[in-house]
Each structure stands twice: as C-alpha cells, then as structure tokens.
Amino acid sequence: MKTILSKEQLALTIKRLANQILENHPQLQNTVIIGLQPRGIFLSDRIVQELMKLVDPKNIQYGKLDITFYRDDVRKSLHIASNTDIPFSIENKKVILVDDVLYTGRTIRAALDALLDFGRPSKVALCVLVDRRFSRELPIQPDYLGKAIDTIFSQRVIVLWNESDENEQVMLLDN
C-alpha cells in the first residue's frame, strides 16, 4: 500500500483544480459543474466549496449526475443507482464533469451519453483527481488533472474522504 496524495496534498490539489477551472472559465460565466455519482460527488463538493471563495456563489451552477442506466455492463452485474439532480438547463453551457478516478474511460463515455440527454452543451470538459494513465480502453483524456499515476490492472486506487470514510487521502493498493 502506498499513499499517492496525503490529506494536505489533497487539499492543495483541490485548490489548484478550482483555480485552473477559473482560469479557463472567468467568473464561471455560462459554466456549470456536474459531479458524477456516487464517488465523484465528494470531489465536486470540495471544488465547489473552493469556487465559492473565489467567485460570486450566485454564479455557481452545480448538479449531480448518476450514470448507472447508461453503463455498458448493465447485464454483467447489478449497479444500484444514486440520485441525479441537475436543476438547470445545460443547453449551450460549458459543462465541467467531475469524477475522482479516471481509469478505463467507460464511466466518462456513459456520462457523456447521459449528459447529452439533458441538452446540447457548447463544450464538455473533464476534471479528475487521479488519472490511471495507460489504462484507457476508450479515447478519453482529462482537461483538469490532480495527479497522473502509472498502475497495473491488479492494483486499485482508493480515494478516501472525511465525509464517508473518516479519513482523507488517496492510496494505491496492490492486490
């Protein structure tokens, strides 16, 4: 077991991601943040908290998206759905999708399909905390990245949050 990001590094990384998003989307004009259920929400909650310190909170439009029904492995195993809550239109908006770990890219593929059923955004960008690069099964890359790591198939990346796990760090497990 190896720590990839400690609690302090995690906090700094989230601050950096929020600032990078603002760099490209001044004042979050015409921009919405959408976190992916279930585990991406912890990251998007934090990023939104940081953004609230940096821009007028009224400008922040934040939604949550569950992609269970769009998965390509529905018939392989049962996935339990979480809430989807997008209380605004995404038509012609710039959407920033937020998830914790980018691995095969299949979740993001499903997320794009799900997202497009809510309207036609002008641009979609991807923000992830950890990128397991060289493990992709689809041509999908992050636009905002916490940390890229090299992993092999048998390893697992665990992201722990105070809210759910009473601990806060990113770890790599060898199985």
Binding site: F69, R71, R75, T84, A114, D117, G119
Partner: protein, 308 residues
C-alpha cells in the same frame, strides 16, 4: 445487492429487501421520466414479449412504455388475435416466441398460477402482470411506491382495502406487500366478497362497515367490483352495493379527517367510487398510473441485470 428471485411471480416470495430495492430504483427512474429525453439505454440488448391472455389497458401500456423507456425491443401478443384462438397451448406459444430469442416474458393470464407454471418450463425470466385471482405484483409495488411518496414510509401506515377482496389479485398482492413492509392492513366489504378465513390466514383485520373502516385508515385502496369473475350473484344489485359500500364526498367529509384514496383502475364510477371522490383532492389515482411506469422500469431493469 440484487433481487432474491429470477422471476417476479408474486409478492408472496419476495423478501423486504427486494421490495426496498425495487422502490428505491423506481424513484431513480421516476427522475429519468422528468428529463427532456425520458429514455435510457440500459436494456437495448434485451427483447421483451408482452403476453396478454386477458384484456388490459393501463397495465399493458404501462409495461410497454416502461420497456421502451429502457430501450428494450418489444413484442406484443394479444390472445384474441393470435394462434391461441386456434387452440395452441400456452407452453407451445411461449416456446415458439422464445425460439425467436426473447429474454423476458411479461404475462397476464386469467388462470391463477399460469406464470408459475411457465416459470418451471422455460428459461426466460417472467414478470407476472396479473394471474386470475392470485397476484398482481407490479400493481402492489406501484401502490406501495405511491403511498411511500405520500407518507414517507409504509411502516405503521394503516391501509384499508375496500370492495371485492375475494376476486382481487390486487388485494392479495397488496396484503402481502404491506405486511412485509410493516403496514397495518384491513379488508372491508360485504361478507360475501371477503374470504371466510382471511383474518386467520393472512393476519389482516376484517371490517364489514365501510364508515368504520374509513375512520380507522390513513389510506383507502378501493377495488373494482369484478362482475366478470363472479359466477353467481354475490350481492343483490350494483345499486345496493353502491349505497352500502360506495364512497362519496359526503361520506368522506363526515369523517372529519384527511385521508388518501387509491384505486387500481378501471373505476366503475358511481359504484365503488363517486366521481367527486375519484377526481377530488384526496385521490392519488393518476399518480398511481404515473408511478406505474417507473416501478415497472425498476422491475424489468433489476430482473434483466440479474441475468448473467
């Protein structure tokens, strides 16, 4: 977590966890149905046949819509316009359909136990859409979903099922489900329409006085008088029934309390329910219909994803 059963033949064999799983999943599908695109691709590799050996409007349309909203391929079969009219047996019909690579069978049949029989002979998963006077599980699930939506929980809820208990598959499925989920159940109606040993067999309260039943309950699930299943007259006339067991606005107002009225449809207006009640503020009858699609999507999704 997954369903404990391969088929949905009835509520009787479900465990409370199954029911909770179906209702939670249904809530997510209800949200899907509010989206601009009310459709998800989950079951696009699944083919479903709707076998209706008995007439139906709501249930058949609700199932078909649920299947299409899940992107499944849908085949419809109505006994009246098929080879069943030429004397083909149920098993032959189904095996012929299955040889065309169908994954799921939704069946309504006038014989109690027909889907159970089928389940023993074919490999596909079966959803019972009503069998004779036995069970109508998806109706009970959508009733439960609607009650949960209104009251938050089924635990401790007082539900009176009123009317033709004897011939009602909706009543039986509702009784099983409500008791599994911790609600209190009463059946009310004329003695000729309530099975004699129901209280001993199913542990429900029995009440022959409509007003007393309404005073007791939070929810009244009012059933249709099923004249088509009565071989002999079980009450003198519809007029007498409606005078003794019909619910009208005046009666509801005389109770001096808020309560919820449900009905599985089709309503015999002026018999078990007056129009001013069926269309009144206590009625959630159209919510039931709306919720039916989400609940059936949940059932089909959970059964299909159980197949490996």
């Amino acid at each position: 977590m997954k369903l404990s059963t391969k088929h949905l033949l009835g509520i009787k064999h479900l465990v409370p966890e199954d029911i909770t799983l179906i209702l939670t999943t249904a809530a997510q599908f209800k949200e899907v149905l509010q989206r601009p695109v009310k459709k998800v691709p989950s079951l696009r590799d699944v083919t479903i046949v709707n076998l209706f050996y008995e007439n139906s409007t709501r249930t058949r349309m609700s199932f078909e819509l649920a299947e299409r909203r899940l992107s499944a391929d849908v085949l419809n079969f109505a006994a009246s316009s098929s080879s069943a009219a030429k004397g083909e047996t149920l098993l032959d019909t189904v095996n012929n359909i299955l040889s065309m690579k169908v994954d799921l069978v939704v069946m309504r049949h006038s014989a109690s136990g027909a889907p159970h029989f089928l389940a023993q002979h074919i490999p596909a998963a079966i959803v019972n859409a009503g069998d004779g006077i036995n069970e109508h599980p998806t109706q009970a699930l959508l009733d439960a979903f609607s009650m949960q939506e209104k009251f938050g929980s089924l635990e401790g809820l007082k539900v009176a099922i009123i009317g033709d208990i004897m011939h009602s598959r909706v009543a039986l499925s509702n009784m099983y489900l409500l008791q599994k989920m911790g609600a209190e159940v009463m059946v009310a109606g004329p003695p000729t329409l309530i099975p004699k040993y129901i209280s001993e067999a199913l542990g429900v309260r029995v009440e022959y006085n409509l007003k007393k039943a309404l005073q007791w309950c939070d929810v009244a699930n009012v059933l249709r008088i099923q004249l088509e299943r009565q071989n002999q007259p079980l009450f003198s006339s519809l007029r007498e029934y409606s005078l003794t067991y019909g619910i009208n606005k005046k009666l509801l107002e005389s109770l001096g309390k808020e309560m919820v009225i449900m009905h599985p449809g089709p309503i015999n207006r002026g018999v078990e329910l007056d129009s001013d009640v069926a269309d009144g503020s206590s009625s959630i009858i159209l919510n039931q219909v709306e919720n039916g699609v989400a609940v059936r999507m949940a059932v089909l999704y959970l059964l299909a994803s159980r197949e490996n």
